[in-house]
């Protein structure tokens, strides 16, 4: 499960922030997942729960929000949203593991260029963390 590795990264980052903010317990972690990487929230949530049974995150709620992925052609300026349903399963899976390989498979719908920017909704971000401070 590739999401496991991403969940470990999320918790490592959240732990750093919690330490900086002097949190003794984390109550909520907000994560945003971009459409390009197609991370499945239930799988990610399962990994996060499994990895945080004890300690700082044991009472944390994991909010996983989805974000559209917007691609912008650097040649003609066309902007479009990534839709995994329009591509075959093997390609979608490759993009799931490494989103930038989209440049090997997807072209601008207007001019056909592979030179586009992943303007938003690439992968996984830690958006917010809430908890109880050590006063």
């Amino acid at each position: 499960m590739h999401e496991w590795a991403l969940a470990e990264g999320i918790l490592a980052s959240a732990r750093k922030i919690a330490e900086q903010e002097h949190l003794i317990s984390v109550s909520e972690v907000t994560i945003r997942v971009g459409a390009l990487q197609q991370v499945e929230p239930p799988i990610l949530r399962f990994a996060l729960k499994q990895l945080s049974e004890d300690g700082l995150f044991s009472h944390a709620k994991f909010r996983i929000l989805k974000a559209k992925s917007t691609l912008k052609c650097r040649v003609c300026g066309t902007t479009w949203n990534y839709n995994s349903k329009k591509i075959d399963r093997a390609t979608a899976e490759a993009i799931h593991f490494v989103p930038e390989v989209a440049h090997s498979y997807i072209k601008c719908p207007k001019c056909g260029s592979p030179d586009f920017e992943i303007a938003s909704g690439r992968g996984v971000w830690l958006e917010d963390i809430k908890g109880v401070k050590n006063e």
């Binding site: 590795a5 990264g9 490592a12 945003r32 490494v98 390989v101 090997s104 030179d115």
Partner: protein, 245 residues
């Protein structure tokens, strides 16, 4: 908004004893052949070795190793590199196949961070990295993200290659990055010019590799590569070795 991937990279690499980036300011000097031969040579001596092709836009180590098109990493709490020729082998080709990967700098950085964050190398004596040419994103990102990295520099006898190598050395010195030494590849005469220049830079000259037409014939066959001038010379050089040596 925080990118959570960079926080886990140090832990992913924690069980690797030494990380060696085979690098050159100049392209076409034989980095990929040297990196692959180094990895194979260390593995043959009994070390546990990983090979990571970081030349995302121009990968070639999979061709040198003869990696089958159907080979894929295993998905297990991340990505577990398959074993090829005795090496734990990772490359972007698993995900792009024969398609070109037209990546700009920010994309290269993202691929590097993604693969460093999710690849489960496990316990290794050495991770050998085949670097792209130049001193751009890949070098700067590795220096930023992999604190324990050491650079092994490849040049040819050509002044054109060595002048660019000098710039790379200047950068690495400025960044306080350790340089294992310099290998002079594709040597066709007895000139000691590169050896003198390397010593003048304060670096270790690890040795030279004679030009060998057999190298081209070894492509796709790791055993044959070790039997070429590259494989034999690397086996003799004062390079980092495993405990079993």
């Amino acid at each position: 908004m925080i990118d959570p991937r960079t926080s886990i990279i140090t832990e992913r690499l924690a069980r690797i004893r030494r990380i060696i980036a085979v690098s050159s300011g100049k392209g076409g000097v034989g980095k990929s052949m040297v990196a692959t031969a180094l990895a194979l040579s260390l593995a043959k001596e009994g070390s546990r070795v990983g090979l990571f092709d970081l030349d995302f836009t121009g990968p070639s180590t999979h061709i040198i190793l003869g990696v089958s098109d159907s080979l894929q990493p295993k998905e297990e709490k991340g990505i577990v590199p398959p074993t090829v020729g005795g090496l734990e082998y990772m490359s972007l080709v698993y995900y792009v196949g024969d398609n070109p990967a037209p990546l700009r700098g920010a994309d290269v950085s993202n691929v590097l961070i993604e693969l460093l964050a999710v690849t489960q190398w496990g316990q290794l004596d050495f991770l050998v990295i085949d670097m792209p040419p130049g001193i751009g994103d890949a070098v700067l990102d590795l220096v930023r993200l992999v604190k324990r990295i050491e650079f092994l520099i490849v040049t040819t006898p050509s002044l054109l290659a060595f002048e660019v190598v000098k710039k790379q050395v200047a950068l690495l010195c400025e960044l306080h990055m350790p340089v294992v030494g310099v290998i002079e590849n594709m040597k066709a005469d007895k000139s000691a010019a590169i050896q003198h220049e390397t010593t003048r830079l304060g670096l270790k000259y690890l040795g030279s590799i004679d030009y060998d037409a057999k190298v081209e014939l070894s492509i796709g066959n790791p055993e044959k590569l070790l039997d070429t001038a590259i494989g034999k010379a690397i086996g003799q050089m004062p390079l980092p070795r495993g405990d079993k040596q």
